[in-house]
């Protein structure tokens, strides 16, 4: 029975992915009536050049033929060539993905850990000064534009105090290999990762807090207390694991948010990942690059949603039964 659920979720995700792919086609080729003219706004283009470009972009033929060739290309991970570098888009993305994976991975984990911790501490002493301070703090960081927080941290820690580099991923004078290189990257990672962590821990804290408050009303907690268990034991063994369920779903949603947040934050810190690539592609605009990035962003968010769903099935017996 469990395999049926897993299979269902898998098919659902595939359907969503298919929707995104089709949507992407309409977005770029149907909404925009004449991409070639739009791309070369204001530049002189001979008819011959124009026809060649049209063919190159797969824009000749009927919409149906275009759609078919687009599907074939997309399935083969061929997103065309970047207008700026003339490299295949997929290679550009593969080059820049590791930096973003490192940044988003570190930030997603840290924001979840610290957000949950703050939420638990706030909820367990509901109405206390600590709760009040934690809630005010998280609501405030939650209300900040992520990149603005980045600008503040950059000013304070890089420009004024000079503790961390102002941007980029490596120092030209740093060692080229080994531990030294890693440390250099790590030093550059601190500020962007701190920005994303602080910007996105607020939601975890708020959700964890209300979930735990909800759980604290359950009878089994009264029982655990009645048995004479110590307060921390009641909290860590009985309350928190059950209250964590909604946070699992949030983790998937938040992954998408952190990934999106990386677009502006990477720009602030010149962190050479997919976010900065998106920002640069926008200046052109470099449409094939944007299209490829959009697909990659969407696909990874869909993947994480699927993972969260599966984890949820594994954690919550009620889902398996119903």
């Amino acid at each position: 029975m469990s395999t049926r659920i897993v299979l269902g979720k898998l098919l659902g995700s595939l359907a969503t992915l298919a929707f995104v792919v089709v949507f992407n086609f309409f977005l770029f080729r149907v909404v925009e009536q004449d991409p070639v003219a739009n791309l070369f706004r204001g530049r002189n283009l001979s008819d011959a050049q124009r026809d060649e470009l049209t063919r190159e972009f797969g824009l000749d033929g009927s919409k149906l033929e275009q759609f078919w060739s687009y599907i074939q290309q997309t399935v083969g991970l061929n997103f065309g060539r970047s207008y700026v570098t003339n490299q295949p888009v997929i290679e550009e993305i593969a080059d820049k993905a590791p930096a973003t994976i490192a940044l988003v991975g570190v930030s997603a984990v840290l924001s979840a850990v610290f957000g949950i911790l703050i939420g638990v501490l706030a909820a367990w002493r509901r109405g206390s000064k600590r709760d009040y301070a934690a809630t005010t703090l998280t609501m405030t960081t939650y209300s900040m534009p992520d990149f603005w927080l980045g600008m503040l941290l950059l000013t304070l820690f890089a420009v004024v105090l000079g503790w961390f580099p102002v941007g980029g991923i490596s120092d030209p004078n740093a060692p080229d290999a080994g531990i030294g290189k890693l440390l250099d990257h790590g030093e550059h990672l601190v500020l962007p990762a701190l920005t994303l962590t602080v910007a996105y821990l607020g939601e975890y804290a708020l959700v964890m807090r209300s979930s735990l408050i909800e759980t604290m009303r359950e009878d089994y907690l009264v029982l655990a207390r009645a048995k004479g268990l110590r307060d921390t034991l009641v909290r860590n063994r009985h309350a928190v694991p059950n209250a964590l369920l909604p946070v699992v779903t949030l983790a998937a949603i938040n992954f998408g948010l952190v990934l999106s947040g990386a677009i502006a934050v990477e720009t602030i810190f010149s962190w050479p990942g997919l976010g900065l690539a998106t920002y640069e592609a926008l200046q052109g605009p470099d449409l094939p690059m944007l299209q490829g990035l959009f697909l990659v962003f969407s696909a990874s968010v869909i993947l994480f949603n699927l993972l969260a769903d599966l984890v949820y099935v594994a954690l919550d017996p009620r889902v398996r039964v119903s």
Partner: protein, 304 residues
């Protein structure tokens, strides 16, 4: 005779609704965060409305402020200093409040209209049509918001109307889902059954019985969508989709960043607009959460 009966039934309904609103307000007044949020919002709305009194609009254009010293700190140029072109930061903050509030509210109204329609229709016409609509909603929920908004904005071009459109089009799904869930429980209520048995049309049922039933929820969820819309406007403006002819807080941040305010340590350029964004977003969130606690039936049941 029957017309008298209808009129009085309507009167009763109105009276009841008025009493419900008065009751909700007296409950709302007791929420301290809610009142703080409302006060802050009132101040910013007043600022946006009184912009011509607070600062001269001509100061937004660099040609009109040639006499001003660029990069002046607040100490040299009251009250908030100047930017790289010598324009007063205060003037930009004041006039930018109009754009940020307008975009936030207009985009939210658009999202609410779409979300409400989809939610009510999907909940009301169960089965096929409903399932199809919800599938569509799920799809939109999964597509990461910012990349979608960026792509849409890139295709549509930078203007304030397009920013509103883009945010509206991308923010409706969660509202649709919320409304649908509420409609599903409402339509099984006895009074809806009764009305249906008396021969009410679907349109009548939706407009007269379902819509009033979900309106509280819609108000709360709309209020909570505004801060998201304002933050989205900020990010989109920062990425260069702002209307070139209008100041907005997001655009100020973009200009400050692009023109080197960080290395110049010209904090007065990018701190004030950011603080305004945080305050407005926080205020809307506080108001929305206070409303939610009063109007969302699920939370109400929980707290009793």
């Amino acid at each position: 005779m029957s017309s008298v009966a209808v009129a009085s039934a309507r009167r009763i309904a109105w009276l009841r609704r008025r009493r419900a609103i008065a009751g909700a307000w007296s409950q709302y007044r007791r929420s301290r965060p809610g009142m703080i949020g409302l006060t802050v919002l009132a101040l910013f709305v007043a600022m946006a409305l009184a912009a011509p009194l607070l600062a001269d609009e001509s100061g937004l254009r660099a040609v009109n402020v040639i006499g001003n010293e660029p990069w002046s700190s607040p100490a040299d140029f009251a009250p908030l200093g100047t930017d790289r072109l010598g324009r007063s930061i205060w003037t930009q903050v004041v006039w930018g409040s109009r754009t940020s509030l307008l975009v936030g509210l207009a985009a939210t109204v658009l999202a609410a209209l779409i979300g409400m329609t989809v939610g009510i229709v999907a909940g009301f016409y169960g089965r096929r049509a409903g399932a199809l609509l919800m599938r569509l909603t799920e799809w939109f929920l999964v597509i990461p918001f910012l990349p979608l908004a960026i792509v849409l904005a890139a295709v549509l071009g930078p203007s304030i109307r397009n920013i509103i459109l883009v945010i509206g089009i991308t923010s409706w799904p969660s509202m649709a889902r919320l409304v649908r869930a509420q409609v599903l429980t409402l339509k099984e209520r006895l009074y809806v059954d009764r009305s249906r048995a008396l021969g009410a049309s679907r349109a009548h049922l939706m407009a007269r019985h379902i819509l009033p039933g979900v309106s509280g929820l819609i108000l709360a969820s709309t209020t909570l969508t505004v801060p998201v819309a304002i933050l989205s406007e900020t990010t989109l403006s920062f990425l260069g989709f702002g209307d070139p002819s209008r100041p907005s807080w997001g655009k100020m941040l973009e200009e400050a960043f692009a023109q080197g305010a960080l290395t110049e340590e010209a904090w007065w350029w990018y701190v004030p607009p950011g603080v305004c964004i945080v305050l407005v977003v926080l205020a809307f969130t506080l108001v929305g959460r206070a409303l939610e606690e009063i109007l969302d039936p699920r939370l109400r049941e929980r707290s009793t």
